[in-house]
């Protein structure tokens, strides 16, 4: 992830130049400061502003800027197959806990869901983690999750793509779809047991393998996981079934998609028989999820993030929704409530530094001084991702 905010880029460039003269960049810079400031000891390490309220449903604006801990079993259930950025997962492993800051975009989103939608923002501002927070909330509130952790992977970092055997001209993702079905199963196994949803159609996979009418939905999922050959069609069948069930009021379905704009990108990295890049509109998986973006069903909510990086490299000029979604995407999703995800404000920034200090991610005691905090703010330009990067060698 590269910083998009121009402000951030400029500040970082300035740092790079001054850091070159002193070995080791900003780390060395900090070391020198620390030695010179030994005479006046740094203030004691603060404790991170935390909240004991671990249920996102109870988070209000009063909790803004506070950190809450996700229980390990919840993390395992919701985010084993993705849903948090890789760097964040590594960081959580280092800090020995999964903590999220309660921030305004997630609060707004949860508020709207409660009152009944995609968010956009520059890179590294916390769109994915806002979605993670919302996912946690939705899972706790009894929504059936259809969670796509990072949709662009199906367009460019797929494991395998094969021409569909059922529909001419379509392409399947056998392994990726099976992995996603496993993800769906981990997230919703318990809920599906209580809901007792059954298939409304018969699905014939081969002469021997048939999913009968009125068999539990989990059977459909298991078929897909067991037989990767049919997994993409299973996903298509599953999403259609869920949509129908939700429309009839048997369950409420939350569709959470990170990088939703990738569904409207015109190119994939897969080359077809004629060696040209295949249009992702021919992917069965894309069909399966795009039918959930329409407004012809109810008892559902769609939460997505718009990410520049989910687009192909030639279409990353702006982080605003109309640009990222293009004409088609806009037409498919309109009307939606855009929720901007911005950089840290002062309160959140202070809280983040406190948290890193408490977890000893920031070892340098001078980070706790006013000067140190201001320097970190300038170096990271208040961008959450940049802050982690800047703090890494300190």
């Amino acid at each position: 992830m590269a910083p998009t905010a121009r402000r951030a880029v400029l500040l970082l460039r300035g740092l790079g130049q001054c850091g070159l003269g002193r070995q080791g960049g900003c780390g060395a810079l900090w070391g020198q400061r620390w030695i010179s400031a030994q005479a006046s000891p740094a203030p004691p390490r603060p404790s991170a502003p935390r909240t004991a309220t671990t249920s996102p449903a109870q988070h209000t604006t009063d909790h803004r800027g506070l950190w809450y801990t996700l229980e390990q079993d919840m993390v395992t259930r919701l985010f084993t197959q993705g849903g948090m950025t890789k760097s964040f997962v590594t960081q959580c492993r280092t800090l020995a806990e999964t903590c999220l800051m309660v921030r305004q975009p997630a609060l707004t989103m949860m508020d709207y869901v409660r009152r009944t939608s995609p968010s956009d923002g520059p890179d590294g501002c916390g769109k994915t983690l806002a979605l993670a927070h919302a996912t946690h909330f939705l899972a706790e509130s009894g929504w059936l999750l259809v969670h796509v952790p990072w949709a662009p992977n199906w367009r460019r970092r797929f494991k395998e793509v094969a021409p569909s055997t059922t529909v001419e001209g379509q392409y399947n993702h056998p392994l990726d779809a099976a992995v996603w079905l496993q993800h769906f199963k981990t997230q919703n196994a318990e809920l599906l047991k209580t809901l007792q949803l059954e298939t409304q159609k018969e699905y014939t996979w081969s002469r021997r393998e048939v999913t009968e009418v009125n068999s539990p939905l989990m059977e459909l999922v298991e078929t897909g996981i067991g037989r990767a050959r049919y997994s993409s069609d299973c996903v298509l069948a599953l999403t259609s079934e869920l949509k129908a069930h939700a429309a009839e009021g048997r369950c409420k379905v939350a569709v959470v998609v990170d990088g939703i704009n990738t569904f409207f990108a015109p190119v994939s990295r897969y080359r077809g028989e004629d060696r040209s890049f295949v249009d992702p509109q021919h992917f069965t998986l894309f069909h399966a999820f795009k039918q959930l973006f329409t407004t012809d069903w109810k008892n559902g909510v769609l939460v997505g993030s718009l990410d520049r990086l989910a687009n192909e490299s030639s279409k990353r000029g702006s982080h605003l929704p109309r640009y990222l979604l293009r004409q088609k995407g806009w037409e498919a999703l309109d009307p939606f409530v855009p929720i901007p995800v911005d950089d840290y404000d002062d309160l959140e920034f202070r809280s983040a530094i406190d948290y890193y200090l408490e977890r000893r991610w920031l070892q340098n005691p001078m980070a706790n001084t006013d000067m140190g905090r201001r320097e970190l703010a300038a170096l990271s330009a208040h961008n959450p991702f940049n802050l982690v990067q800047v703090c890494r060698p300190l």
């Binding site: 508020d111 709207y112 009152r115 009944t116 956009d120 407004t295 109810k298 702006s318 605003l320 929704p321 109309r322 640009y323 004409q327 806009w330 037409e331 498919a332 309109d334 009307p335 939606f336 409530v337 855009p338 929720i339 901007p340």
Partner: protein, 323 residues
């Protein structure tokens, strides 16, 4: 006799050097008069006539008579000091005497305000009165939407022809053509650069024929063809798709359908009003381009459309406005 001849020879020599002498006289000692011995009268007359003419001009003279027509700058006639040109190193800017820079540039010394006033007075008797009820520009444009302009030239040269006289310009306000949306769009595509958006006028310049009459007729022809082509609907024009549109059109767009569905689903009471506002916001966002402000407006509009707006928030906003 001999003496006289000598004097005359001297004088001839002086006449050859006259400009130099004059210059020396005027620049160094303007009041100095050279009085050689004998033949006083003759010499004085000769030298006085060599002085720059402005020294003999009165301060209340009629400048229009001194400088009646356009003319190259002449330092002896222009009574004020003026400097022009690139100064040599360590020297001031060259003065008006023998200054080629001043002579090269056109001057407007024949067009001083009193002269212009006098000429206008003289021309007045040839003018007719301005037509009544055509005082404002809007009225003029309404009754005379077409403006034809051309120039006539008058020279004191061997030929009375001027090639620039053939150029004819036709200007017409687009409003007066009463075109529909399709016709207007097509006309603008046909005329390209010839349309001025600021004044909403179309300008056709014809200079391809040798006579102004021919060019005028060509303008008329061009205007007629342009109008008729714009009004015409070709069979292939129906093939224009949504992607080919130069602007977002709300009528029949998926956004309209989606908004209508959303409003019908929640059985809104103020559907008309909300839909109208939403239409404005969405059209703006597409046509004017998106930024943080338009996205914010869009968000608020969607909130009203989907009935997501919190009544407490609305109350808060109202309260803050009161404060």
């Amino acid at each position: 006799m001999l003496l006289q001849r000598v004097c005359l020879t001297e004088l001839r020599g002086q006449q050859g050097l006259r400009p130099l002498v004059c210059r020396a006289l005027t620049t160094s000692h303007p009041r100095l008069e050279v009085k050689p011995a004998g033949k006083e009268h003759l010499v004085r007359v000769k030298l006085n006539s060599g002085l720059p003419i402005y020294t003999q001009q009165k301060t209340d003279q009629d400048w229009g008579n001194v400088w009646p027509a356009a003319r190259t700058f002449s330092p002896a006639t222009v009574p004020f000091p003026v400097r022009q040109g690139y100064p040599a190193s360590g020297k001031p800017t060259p003065d008006k005497w023998g200054n080629a820079e001043l002579m090269k540039i056109p001057n407007f010394l024949h067009l001083t305000p009193p002269v212009i006033k006098r000429q206008c007075e003289a021309l007045k008797k040839f003018c007719t009165t301005w037509p009544a009820r055509l005082e404002t520009a809007t009225k003029q444009e309404k009754h005379f939407p077409v403006t034809i302009s051309k120039s006539s030239y008058l020279h004191s040269s061997p030929t009375v022809r001027d090639s620039k006289a053939r150029i004819v310009t036709l200007q017409v306000s687009l409003k007066s053509l009463e075109l529909d949306q399709h016709g207007r769009d097509k006309l603008l595509r046909l005329v390209g650069e010839r349309y001025q958006a600021a004044s909403d006028r179309l300008t056709l310049v014809a200079d391809r024929c040798p006579l102004s009459k021919q060019n005028y007729e060509y303008c008329q022809y061009l205007m007629t063809v342009l109008y008729n082509e714009s009004v015409k609907m070709e069979p292939w024009e129906h093939e224009k798709e949504v992607a080919d549109r130069e602007k977002f059109i709300w009528e029949g767009s998926p956004s309209q359908a989606a908004a209508q569905t959303a409003l019908t689903a929640r059985r809104a009471t103020d559907a008309e009003e909300v839909l109208k506002e939403y239409e404005l916001v969405v059209t703006d966002l597409h046509n004017e381009g998106e930024d943080e402000t338009t996205i914010e407006r869009y968000k608020e509009s969607v909130m009203r459309l989907l009935n997501l707006a919190d009544p407490q928030d609305a109350a808060k906003v109202a309260h803050s406005q009161v404060c």
